[in-house]
Amino acid sequence: MSERAFRIWRGTAAGGEFGEHRIDVDEGMVVLDVLHRIQAKQANDLAIRWNCKAGKCGSCSMEINGRPRLACMTRMNLFADRETITVQPLKAFPVIRDLVTDVSWNFEQNKRIPPFRPGPKGSDGQYRMHQKDVDRVQEFRKCIECYLCQDVCHVLRDQSRKDAFVGPRFMIRLASLEMHPLDTADRIPAVRKEFGSGFCNITRCCTEVCPEHIEITDNGIIPLKERVVDRFYDPLLWLGRKIFGR
């Protein structure tokens, strides 16, 4: 057991400041454990979101020493013994209280995406898909909606272009639908126009922070951008693919 120093941002949309805490930390603890201990002993009303404590639900996103992370998967031994640990809410979204932010914008984006539309079933009443054809889609579907990628994407974070770009999370959601072997809807025009694929300039910051290690940029956004390019700059190629299969 050792005593560690924490600085935790406390406040609301109206403003706030860092609270200083010194707290005993046991072997094997993650940052979320320490925050819970602080909550139980020193700051009873500290607002935090969490659910699974195992990196599966994407609730405990926050910025720890300046980097967007899941608090439940951030082990204390990541930090040097004397290092003060600074914890802040996600910056790309408006704060509600303390470490809790208003992420409702993301739910609105999801709702705008045209839903899955499957083709007809096979003659035996079953759908067939082969594993190799769904590996990529399954990679995208690992997303736990932690929004860490949204938090680091400069288009949302620094340029505040939430009006124009849905962000990496929803680019891969779009990709997972577009690459779904059973889906028949066409979202490519919307990917460019409504969802703003052109705003992404492939900095890969999103991929770097994804706790699910999804290759957001290389496997998701770039192929989507290619489909957009094919469609709008090489419509004949697209038509050919449409007719002769992908």
Binding site: G28, A40, N44, N51, C52, A54, R75, F107, P118
Partner: protein, 610 residues
């Protein structure tokens, strides 16, 4: 005096409380049937417990072994539940789960595939054939996301981070629900003709649990307060394999999929101890030697199943005994070894989130080292008593589905049978609610005085000048349940628990939440205490009443299953005087055709002779 008309109010035909698999599926059904539907949940959408489910969803699709069908699934479920399941529920579940799983595929779910391109299935404890449709070890995520993405286009009301506090009745029927927004602390009133509870279990009354903060037994407690019967509360499932080290992750689940894919349990001498714990009833269908178990794993259909895949109650008790007899691992568990059974690449592919979880939280590489595991409180078989076909509780207009309802799993749930339960009974609850709402005359009315007193009770912890710390009371409760109401129970222990619960109930009435009502964790904790205490007391009293050992309920002072207890369910209810009463209620006999299936030999079933 508080003016009720100033409380923000919504009106619906049906309010679904809980947005896990059961709640989402129920809400989708209600809205598809034209009911004005609302869905409330304590967390954000998509974060409910269902998201954490790992191993898979059980359905007799027969994609890997064509001998599988609903009858075998039904038989496995009854045997796993030690014949205390509601026969009709186990039947409906086994018959309908394949359609519910295929329906998810139609809504966009992408399960792992067989070589023929169909939904793949894996082995799990107590299931005769590979039956669990899965996506690696993140099946729950796939299911909740599919339902969520389907639901958001259906146009019903979704109220996130909104906690329901009390059910309100009009002449004994459901009339509304009072809740509060976690974000602002403001109250909100739902006027509604029917309520579907889908709030999950109450594992947070224990310290070592796989459950998240949401599992405080709210639905169970709200139903109890509204006068509904609870049933089978003594059956709390301890999952045999939770993490044990480091202390801060103690209880976090290690999926049964590890054993389904070949993982073995070892004691400190590296011996596969499960061969020593095979119950007589299962001996015919369990491998006798390691050699036979290995052949089964390799696909030999004449070999029998390894004993690591016995039902959870058996495995959890075996681990407890190994540890108490001094053959445990350094941190008080046993070893679960997959490293020496599968190539590293396969482990990472089939169990990615287990690999990740151990690597990041315990610094253990499961492709090279064994895991240390021990039992963790995981699931409530008990809960709100419902009609098997309509899912209506004993309170008119109040329905329940998913983990907060009871009847489907009897004395012990098989892995994978929960996710399928959510889909089957979520949907049926929606249908039940539609029938009820359509048959209802005038809209029920909410009693304003009731609402005022509920608001006063809820705000007391904020308004009081001083009082106990709610976190400390919760911690105290967890200690009590861990000490006295664990895997093995005795009358003396249970009586001590009741005494301590009395003390805790008094403490809980005087807790203080400092600060304002906006997103105040201490206040939320203070409000959850009531549900936790009701749930804990119901478990304890039911456990005291059932004088036998069956499934997940083990009494050291009443060894083994007793014939007379097979014939009854323990019912818990709030009596007229406000005290908790328990009674043993005789079960109706099973329909003859179902009994024949459940007691048939596997050979007869496979050959279609039953």
């Amino acid at each position: 005096m508080l003016n009720v008309s100033e409380i923000q109010t919504f009106e619906h035909d049906v309010l679904v409380i809980g947005a896990g698999g059961a709640g989402l599926r129920a809400a989708i059904e209600c809205s598809a049937r034209g009911l004005s539907t609302g869905l409330v949940c304590k967390s954000l959408l998509g974060k409910a417990h269902t998201v954490m489910a790992e191993g898979g969803v059980a359905a007799a699709l027969g994609n890997l072994d064509r001998r599988d069908n609903w009858k075998v699934h039904f038989r496995d479920t009854m045997r796993g539940g030690k014949f205390l399941n509601q026969w009709r529920m186990a039947e409906l579940h086994a018959r309908e789960s394949p359609d519910r799983v295929r329906e998810l595929e139609e809504w966009g779910a992408v399960f792992d595939r067989t070589k023929d391109g169909l939904i793949s299935q894996r082995n799990f404890g107590g299931h005769r054939y590979p039956r669990l449709a899965h996506v690696g070890d993140r099946t729950g995520l796939e299911i909740i996301r599919t339902l969520q993405d389907h639901a958001v286009h259906k146009g019903f009301g979704i109220y996130m981070e909104c906690t329901a506090l009390d059910l309100h009745l009009d002449a004994g029927r459901i009339a509304g629900v009072l809740g509060y927004w976690r974000e602002s602390g403001r109250f909100v009133l739902f006027r509604t003709r029917a309520v579907i509870l889908a709030t999950g279990g109450g594992g947070r009354a224990w310290r070592i649990t796989s459950n998240s903060w949401e599992y405080t037994g709210d639905g169970t407690a709200m139903a109890y307060e509204a006068g509904a019967d609870l049933m089978d509360m003594e059956f709390t499932q301890f999952h045999p394999t939770g993490m044990v080290w480091p202390p801060s992750v103690r209880g976090i689940l290690v999926t049964e999929g590890v054993r389904g894919d070949g993982g073995v349990l070892l004691d400190s001498r590296k011996e596969r101890f499960m061969f020593r714990y095979i119950p007589e009833k299962f001996a015919d269908e369990t491998a006798a030697t390691e050699e036979e178990a290995n052949r089964w794993l390799a696909g030999d259909k004449t070999a029998r199943r390894p004993p690591e895949l016995l039902t959870r109650d058996v495995v959890a008790r075996a681990i407890t005994q190994e540890v108490s007899e001094g053959r445990g691992s350094p941190h008080g568990g046993v070893y679960l070894d997959i490293a020496s059974r599968l190539p590293a690449e396969t482990i990472r592919k089939k169990l990615p989130s287990m690999y990740h979880q151990f690597k990041e939280l315990a610094e253990v590489d499961i492709t090279r080292q064994p895991m240390e595991v021990g039992p963790t409180l995981h699931y409530f078989m008990g809960g709100v008593r419902v009609d098997s076909d309509t899912q209506m509780s004993t309170v008119p207009g109040l329905f329940a589905a998913g983990e907060c309802a009871t009847g489907m799993h009897g004395a012990n749930r098989l892995g994978g049978n929960s996710l399928s339960d959510l889909l089957v009974f979520g949907r049926l609850a929606g249908i039940g609610a539609e029938q009820y709402v359509k048959g209802l005359g005038a809209a029920p009315r909410i009693d304003e005085e009731q609402v005022r007193s509920a608001v006063r009770r809820a705000t007391a912890p904020l308004n009081r000048d001083a009082g106990a710390n709610p976190y400390v009371v919760h911690d105290d409760l967890q200690g009590v349940m861990g000490r006295h109401v664990g895997i093995v129970r005795t009358e003396a222990e249970l009586l001590s628990a009741l005494k301590e619960l009395d003390r805790l109930k008094r403490d809980a009435l005087g807790v203080k939440a400092p600060g304002v009502s906006q997103y105040n964790a201490a206040w939320h904790e203070a409000l959850d205490l009531r549900s936790l205490l009701i749930t804990a007391e119901a478990v304890t009293r039911a456990a005291l009443m059932r004088q036998e050992s069956r499934g997940a309920h083990t009494r050291l002072d009443f060894f083994g299953e007793r014939e007379e207890w097979q014939k009854v369910n323990v019912i818990v209810r709030k009596a007229q005087d406000g005290q908790m009463e328990t009674r043993a209620e005789t079960r109706p006999g099973p329909p003859r055709d179902l009994a024949a299936i459940a007691h048939a030999s596997i050979e007869d079933l496979e050959a279609g002779r039953v």
